[in-house]
């Protein structure tokens, strides 16, 4: 550990730290542009110059490039360094348009800060400025190239780190251009990150353009609710409107970056049809009245019909606290324990992860550092986009990624892909013939192998087989960890709280003994398979109560509707796919977004002390009111830890923490699942989430609409040919859920014997994760 002196202050830093990092630890900010914590140092901007007075190489040096040495003496404020940095500031500003007043970056512009820090103040260059024509980069990112200072961060992020191929650097000398070969929407699913890394206003968030100044935004550390990874985000809101989301830093999870779904999928918060008032059937009522009615009616029904009469349904997208409070309310009411997830098979798979795999889970950081990752039954870009970026880091550092999945999986890196049908994939995980042996041998010899498993495709059976494989491949020197993918931000949390082997939602409903169903931020019509069965079961209810912040189809049927708050409007905790407690803080108070009145409208004629649409309460707050419980969040966490010792990490957890793992659980008995026999002539049906618009929150986010996919069914080219079908043909897809008339597309890399559809708004009734099932595809017969 070298000890060095920077500006007369001594500091000891770990071997390999640079002088820039050492200075930062001392609180000395050396101005810099091209250096970025995640992207590293490249020595391009020359802004971080310091003078080495004593050391192996003396003189003016770039502090981002020189490692700290023992006995080194460095000055950052000597004449040589300050003059040079001043000149770098001057050079960088030669062409800058000085348009800060109309620039979106104003206030959070590193160029503003660093130019001032560099000491450059007065322009001496009076020559012509170089100007550019800007490109249309699509709906997410706005480009204003004249502001560019050529730090290369955007291309290092877009191309090098995230693996995008359609954005790069062109030209040379003082005319380098950062953009696409021609105008067009950025293709990468991680395009928004170039907004975060751009130190000035070249690349800005188009969806947030001209909305707010940074200092007017309310921001707080949060957790992305769009998949199960729990990436750190920093949502920013103003005037009751969630205006943007930028990435937060969590080295154990996402690192510095997030995906476009997480960044631009926040429209659900401001959705124009978002329910903001409680109602009893058609009649709008106050929150107090709604909660009173709920309490009275639930107690009445239980008194009258017994503990089965009221069924409480929790959710994988509501907070851990709310699910736990729902359990407490059930106890208080004296009804049976709640069901915490509408989708039975997914919930069971999540339980395998939360219990049986809990002692062998990897973090995303460990995935990035692995030398060999086997991805089994997962499509990272659809199920957990930041995993795809993590896999790219594996390949970038010389590791290997092998994917076994029936879908034509794409990744932003080189990888080997074997297209196996879901059934063949299960076989591969147990023995898998010579191919399986070969992969096992590779994993055996890897230094830090990781098995990624998608819970949707593998199901309970597959996950158990994956665990067995992980046990076989672990040895005394190193474990072979598992990185599972779940479907929702709190799938793990809901699974952890649930009693094992309880009846699922439909079984309980279909007993006919349930009179009242209370759905807490859950819509089984959209989020669970067999929505038909659920629809029928609904008709047997006396009372349907829905608490939600989304205008879901189910909320329309509700006899009693109570509006809740989104994660950005409340404090809470999710448990991510690897069992990490991830806490988030509220950014906004709910309310109708304030906007300029259109059509020359008049200022409001009525005045009120409450802002319109501010009724919604968080699900936990609602349950606390029902429980007449005034505990603070900290006290609530204490009670939860007492109830579930695995949640010990909740104590002292704050939203700015990276988050701690839940304690390991004892493994449960392995249950053998009987897989349904494949009827002759059928295809295995694969329902995959779409990259955009499959998770409910992104489906209600208008900003993502340009990325929503249409409905289709995909077949292996050979399977299609055998049925006499051609790409583009209208076909009938017969499934257990129903028949669908869809256009057919062919893909040579889809596993043979399979049909693939994507779950999206356009094809909502086929839900992923429902287990092995079969289908038939035939040509549409026209009835003329």
């Amino acid at each position: 550990m070298p000890t060095l002196t920077i500006d007369n202050q001594k500091i000891t830093v770990p071997e390999g730290k640079t002088v820039l990092e050492a200075a930062e630890e001392l609180g000395i900010q050396v101005p810099h542009f091209c250096y970025h914590k995640e992207l590293g140092a490249v020595g391009a901007c020359r802004m971080c110059a310091v003078t080495v007075q004593e050391g192996s190489s003396k003189g003016l040096k770039m502090s981002c490039l020189i490692p700290a040495e023992d006995g080194m003496v460095v000055t950052t404020d000597d004449e040589q360094s300050t003059t040079f940095r001043d000149r770098v500031g001057e050079w960088l500003m030669l062409n800058h348009p000085h348009d800060c007043p109309v620039c979106d970056e104003g206030g959070e512009c590193q160029l503003q800060e660093m130019t001032i820090a560099s000491g450059h103040g007065v322009r001496r260059y009076a020559g012509q400025k170089r100007t550019y024509n800007n490109q249309d980069l699509g709906p997410f990112v706005a480009q204003e190239m004249n502001r560019c200072i050529q730090c290369y961060r955007c291309v290092r992020t877009y191309q090098d780190y995230c693996g995008g191929r359609d954005f790069g650097v062109m030209g040379s000398r003082n005319r380098v251009f950062f953009g696409r070969f021609q105008d067009g929407t950025l293709e990468s699913d991680f395009s928004g990150n170039i907004v975060d890394v751009c130190p000035t206003g070249v690349l800005t968030d188009k969806t947030y353009r001209f909305k707010s100044r940074y200092w007017d935004l309310q921001e707080a550390p949060s957790v992305c609710p769009h998949c199960s990874l729990g990436c750190a985000t920093i949502p920013g809101g103003r005037f009751h409107e969630l205006q943007r989301v930028r990435s937060g830093e969590n080295q154990l999870v996402n690192g510095f970056f997030i995906c476009d779904r997480g960044r631009f999928g926040s429209g659900y918060v401001n959705h124009p049809e978002r329910p903001r008032q409680a109602r009893n059937n058609e009649q709008l009522i106050g929150m107090d009245e709604a909660l009173r009615q709920l309490d009275v009616e639930a107690r009445g029904l239980i008194e009258q019909h017994g503990p089965e009469a009221v069924l409480l349904l929790g959710s994988e997208r509501t907070s851990l606290e709310a699910n736990w409070l729902l359990q407490q309310w059930a106890k208080k009411l004296g009804c049976r324990e709640p069901v915490l997830a509408a989708h039975g098979p997914r919930h069971q798979a999540a339980q395998v992860v939360a219990f049986d795999l809990s002692d062998r889970l990897a973090s995303l950081e460990q995935v990035r550092g692995s030398d060999l990752v086997l991805v089994a039954g997962a499509d990272p870009l659809a199920e957990a986009p930041m995993l795809a970026v993590a896999l790219r880091q594996v390949v970038r550092s010389g590791g290997q990624v092998i994917v076994y999945d029936p879908r034509p999986v794409e990744l932003p890196c080189e990888f080997d892909h074997q297209a196996l049908s879901p059934l063949a994939l299960l076989d591969f995980l147990t023995a898998g013939g010579s191919d399986g042996q070969h992969v096992r041998e590779l994993l055996q010899h890897a230094e830090s192998p990781i098995l990624v498993g998608g819970a949707d495709l593998l199901g309970v059976e597959g996950l158990q087989r994956l665990k067995k494989m992980s046990l076989e491949l672990s040895n005394d020197q190193r474990p072979c960890l598992i990185y599972p993918l779940l479907s929702n931000p709190n799938s793990f949390g809901a699974a952890l709280l649930s009693l094992p082997e309880q009846d699922d939602l439909l079984t309980r409903l279909e007993t006919g003994r349930v009179k009242m169903l209370v759905c807490l931020e859950s819509d089984p019509l959209l989020e669970a398979p067999e929505s038909d069965r659920f629809s029928v079961a609904l008709t047997k209810l006396d009372k349907l109560v829905v608490l939600d912040y989304l205008p879901t189809p189910l909320s329309v049927h509700a006899n009693l509707f109570i509006p809740t708050r989104t994660p950005v409007e409340s404090d809470g905790t999710f448990i991510n796919n690897e069992g990490r407690l991830r806490s988030y803080a509220g950014v906004l108070e709910p309310g109708l977004p304030i906007s300029v009145a259109e059509d020359g409208g008049h200022p409001p004629r009525e005045f009120s002390t409450v802002s319109p649409g501010s009724d919604p309460l968080s699900a936990s707050r609602i349950l606390q009111i029902l429980l007449k419980d005034d505990s603070s969040l900290v006290e609530l966490h204490q009670q939860m830890v007492a109830d579930f010792p695995r949640l010990a990490g909740l104590t002292g957890l704050t939203p700015s923490d990276a988050g701690v793992r839940v304690a390991d659980a004892a493994a449960r008995n392995v249950v053998n699942i009987d897989l349904p026999e494949q009827p002759v002539g059928t295809l295995q049906l694969i329902v995959s989430p779409a990259r955009y618009g499959s998770d409910l929150l992104s489906r209600y986010s208008d900003k993502l609409e340009p990325r929503f996919s249409s409905a289709w069914v995909m077949m292996n080219s050979q399977d299609a040919a055998e049925r006499g079908l051609q790409e583009g043909d209208k076909v009938i897809l017969d499934t257990e859920t129903g028949s669908f008339c869809l256009p057919m597309i062919c893909h040579p890399q889809l596993a043979a014997g399979c049909a693939l559809v994507e779950n999206s708004a356009a094809l909502a009734s086929l839900v992923p994760g429902a287990g092995i099932s079969y289908c038939e595809v035939s040509r549409e017969v026209s009835h003329e």
Binding site: R46, L60, V88, W91, L92, Q150, S172, N174, V176
Partner: protein
């Protein structure tokens, strides 16, 4: 034509190119036979070190020392790359050499590869040298047919393949790490050093990059020995001969092979046949566009690495460009800076934007709009650009500016005071 010993230009005839037969007739491939049959790679490397051969691409780093950094016994692929991206104004010697006698480079590549134990070689050639590339390709085919390239060369157990790679061509590709990026098909920005190419070069493997003339010298060193090579130079610490490419205001602007250490006066008067139209010698670039000017007072300086460094300039590539007394040195420098500013790759700020600023300052002064502040700014830019950029391009670009400020500051002052160029009529 020349009385001095001719090694590299031994076979040079006007308008002719020597191929296998002609090359062999004057002793071609004897060095290769000797190296493969009588010497070990270790002996070869030591011979080159003893001959004190210094890199002919401009920097003048001792080739033998560079080769000692090379992990010749490391397992796996290793590369030898020949830098023929010759593109600096005033430098054209590699082109001449390849027009005359391409087999020298091919033989040099094979024996150098044997010395370094690299199994793959690339000759990275400037886009404009189409004819030379054609000659090289033919020479490679001939050498392959003769069994000098391929598997188990002369029964030594050593394999070597040699590729001629046409560059898309920019000046920056002459920088060895930018060249490697270009060769890999990437954007030719220079790479961060360390790691140096000897550790992580082409495709991440150990690589040595040498100039055409450097490699062409190797067979001659093998044939003649280190002592002989050292004695060729006129200065005690110099070695060998050098190709001097003459240009500018001289009566004869050709390329000559002359001993290292030859005085400038001799080059100008004997070989350049004196300044054009009997004008007076004012200044010259001694080693290409990136070397600070020499003036009439330097006429007796020996043209060698150390002697030129002692007078504040560089030997560079020995592309001698002469300016007569009617020449405006501000205009010359502006012309050169325009080239360098245009050829900057755009990676680091001092080069990309600093050279733009210098170009603007020189434009102001040249056009008569300069002020004393501009002169001060020019000095300040020199201080802050030289040695502070990512690679050597900006430092080289500032060479003429340094020379201008050292020797011709009065010309700048004249421009400023007169409000126009004093040389313009």
């Amino acid at each position: 034509m020349s009385q001095t010993p001719q090694l590299l230009f031994k076979n040079r005839r006007p308008g002719e190119t020597v191929f296998m037969d002609g090359y062999r007739a004057t002793g071609g491939y004897q060095a290769l036979e000797k190296a493969f049959r009588q010497m070990t790679p270790q002996e070869l490397r030591e011979l080159v070190k003893a001959a004190a051969l210094r890199g002919r691409g401009g920097a003048g780093f001792p080739t033998g020392v560079k080769w000692t950094f090379f992990p010749s016994d490391a397992p796996g692929p290793k590369y030898l790359v020949c830098n023929c991206d010759e593109m600096e104004p005033g430098t054209y010697k590699d082109g001449e050499l390849l027009m005359a006698d391409p087999h020298q480079l091919v033989e040099g590549m094979i024996v150098s590869a044997f010395a370094l134990q690299t199994d793959i070689g690339y000759i990275f050639i400037r886009y404009a040298y189409e004819k030379q590339a054609e000659h090289l390709r033919r020479a490679v085919v001939e050498a392959t047919e003769a069994g000098y390239i391929g598997k188990n060369i002369l029964g030594s157990g050593f394999d070597f393949e040699l590729h001629v790679h046409g560059s898309a061509g920019r000046y920056i590709l002459g920088e060895e790490t930018a060249l490697l990026n270009g060769l890999e098909g990437k954007r030719p920005n220079p790479r961060l050093k360390p790691p140096f190419p000897a550790t992580r070069g082409l495709f991440g493997r150990p690589t040595t990059v040498n100039n055409v003339e450097t490699i062409a010298n190797i067979p001659h060193i093998i044939n003649g020995g280190a002592e002989w090579f050292l004695d060729l130079a006129l200065t005690p610490d110099g070695s060998g001969t050098k190709l001097f490419g003459l240009s500018g205001h001289l009566n004869c602007t050709e390329c000559f092979e002359l001993p290292v250490g030859i005085p400038l006066r001799e080059v100008v008067e004997n070989y350049g046949k004196g300044v054009l139209h009997n004008h007076t010698f004012k200044a010259c670039l001694p080693g290409g566009a990136s070397t600070p000017y020499l003036t009439a007072e330097h006429m007796d300086v020996a043209l060698d690495f150390d002697s030129l460094a002692a007078v504040g300039s560089r030997f560079g590539t020995a592309g001698v460009t002469v300016f007569d007394d009617r020449t405006c040195m501000v205009a010359v420098t502006l012309n050169l800076i325009r080239f360098f500013a245009r050829e900057s790759c755009g990676w680091c700020t001092p080069c990309r934007d600093g050279l733009t600023m210098v170009r603007w300052l020189l434009e102001m002064i040249d056009s008569g709009k300069g002020t004393p502040e501009h002169l001060e700014m020019l000095k300040d830019q020199l201080k802050n650009i030289s040695g502070k950029s990512f690679c050597a391009l900006a430092e080289g670009a500032m060479g003429p500016v340094a020379g201008l400020l050292t020797h011709f500051e009065q010309e700048i002052v004249d421009h400023i005071e007169k409000g126009c160029c004093p040389f313009r009529k």
